[in-house]
Amino acid sequence: MGEIVLQIVSRELLHSLGNNKLDYIIDKILEGKVLLLEEGLTPEEQLTLIKKAMEKVDIDKFKGIEMAFYPEEQKKYGIFAKILKKKISRVMLIGPSDVISEIRRKGNTIETIIRIIE
């Protein structure tokens, strides 16, 4: 039976990685790992991650990524969030698209189907 490694990445590690955060994430995904980030990515980081993933696509080996996250709750904080420019990040699941085969949103829950490749 195959195995999938689920790596829970702490906020501290993400902060300590600085500008190398997205490269770290892509490298782990290329290793076939599924990551659960304690602190989600900003929209700009998400788009840069998609760009990096597309650059790494290898027709036969790596097809891309799947992401599951809750958007920022900026609306709740209204004008204060805009003034402080503070993004309210949330937990995020990221993995290779051939491992995370499906993401289902059901109200306030997100279900992901993880496929084990034999």
């Binding site: 998400q46 760009k51 696509v57 027709i59 992401m67």
Partner: protein
């Protein structure tokens, strides 16, 4: 000094409006981006922007149509339209083979599609406003749609959502309006040209 000039320019544009608007058409694959770009270009200059197909990622390079003239309240507004490849997080050539493409053609299409996504993302720096095209027959609350809209909000790029394919009986544009209440949503059928006038009004109001 350059920053100050840019600030003054932005204020002048805010006061008098842009005479020339660069519009990016964004969205996931198969939402009808090229069909919309064609409908606008056909309407304004009688020409099309690019070919459409049921096979995802038909548009794999950014295609532009420049100097389209929109007549609005006795004024001429010039539009540059950039039809962009669909934004996706994954591209599997086997999906294309389901539409009858050979393995070789499917692999070539997949390679070009990945380059298209990268090019589309880069083009976000080149536009004054974005029309995000969503398929009204699909669940709008996808990670790709959320990521695109989140980026437009973060970059403060004026955005209109075109809730496309309202000609189909299963279309529910109301779901898009409910999912993204902070955005302007215009239900349209790019295929039939339904509600394009409303879209033009929104372009002038929010992008100019």
């Amino acid at each position: 000094m350059a920053k100050r000039r840019s600030w003054i320019l932005r204020k002048l544009l805010w006061l008098f409006g842009r005479p020339h608007i660069r519009i990016g058409i964004y969205g996931p694959p198969n939402a009808g981006k090229t069909t919309l770009a064609n409908a606008i270009a056909r309407d304004l200059v009688g020409e099309e922007v690019g070919p459409v197909s049921d096979i995802p990622h038909e548009t794999r390079r950014v295609t532009t149509k420049r100097n389209l003239v929109l007549h609005y309240k006795n004024k001429k507004i010039y539009l540059d339209i950039a039809d962009t490849p669909g934004i996706a997080t994954k591209i599997d050539y086997k999906e294309f083979m389901k539409y009858g493409l050979s393995e070789e053609d499917a692999k070539k299409r997949a390679k070009e599609a990945t380059e298209g996504v990268i090019e589309a993302i880069k083009w976000l720096d080149e536009v004054d406003g974005v029309i995000v095209v969503m398929d009204s027959t699909q669940d709008p609350y996808t990670q790709v749609n959320i990521t695109i809209l989140g980026n437009l909000e973060a970059r403060r790029i004026p955005t209109i959502i075109a809730a496309n394919k309202i000609d189909l009986p299963e279309a529910t544009p109301g779901k898009i309006i409910s999912a993204f209440p902070q955005h302007v949503v215009i239900p349209i059928s790019a295929l039939r040209g339904d509600n394009l006038e409303e879209l033009y009004k929104a372009i002038v109001k929010y992008f100019r």
